[in-house]
Symmetry: C2
Subunit: 93 residues, 2 copies
DNA sequence: AAATTTGGTTTATAAAATAAACCTATTTAA
DNA sequence: TTAAATAGGTTTATTTTATAAACCAAATTT
């Protein structure tokens, strides 16, 4: 049996990636609301995805407020696709 | 977003469940080979699935050799079904 | 009868996930 | 106008999980 990419096989990281696959970009606050994660947990997991090169994380400003924007990279899309295929094999879909 | 049953959202436990969903029964040695897990890890994870009521684990003999046979329960089937549905939502399948 | 293999379990270690505490800048309220 | 609260995070500590290593008893092989 092929192994499931451990970086994606995590509830929160998978949720984040699933969102980013459908959205062009999403900011920290949006991801936090959608996934219902704590800020700390989200921060850590975004960092892992970013270090792995699956997403980009960009810090900017909107007026005077900070805004952290995330996007999935090509590598991230590929990894996600792989993961889905592997999972399908597991589940027999 | 609904949460993914943590008991199933584990590489090895998911692999075991996926096998048992298609096989009526499977013994320890078979599961170990199929999943390529270490005996220790498999033993621990089978125990968790068993405690959760997702599988039954029966120890018996074949000749003089011990044989541990696993089967998925109705509760296990239901949980697995739920998990798959939730996952489909995540992945957009 | 000593050594090896089979079929596991128990215990220790490493890695993840999560939560709690904290930080800086901006608002709001007194 | 300053004290308190809020926004948007990060860092660090704690708890949970997953994994591997060590171990055990019975059977088999040499």
């Amino acid at each position: 049996m092929k192994e499931l990419d451990p970086l994606l096989h995590s509830q929160l990281r998978l949720a984040v990636m699933a969102i980013l696959m459908n959205v062009e970009e999403a900011d920290f606050v949006y991801l936090k609301e959608k996934t219902d994660a704590t800020a700390g947990n989200l921060s850590v997991q975004l960092d892992k995805l970013s270090v792995a090169g699956y997403i980009t994380v960009e810090k900017g400003f909107v007026g005077k407020k900070t805004r952290t924007t995330c996007r999935v990279t090509e590598a991230g899309k590929a990894a996600f696709g792989e993961y889905v295929e592997t999972l399908k094999e597991y589940l027999g879909l």
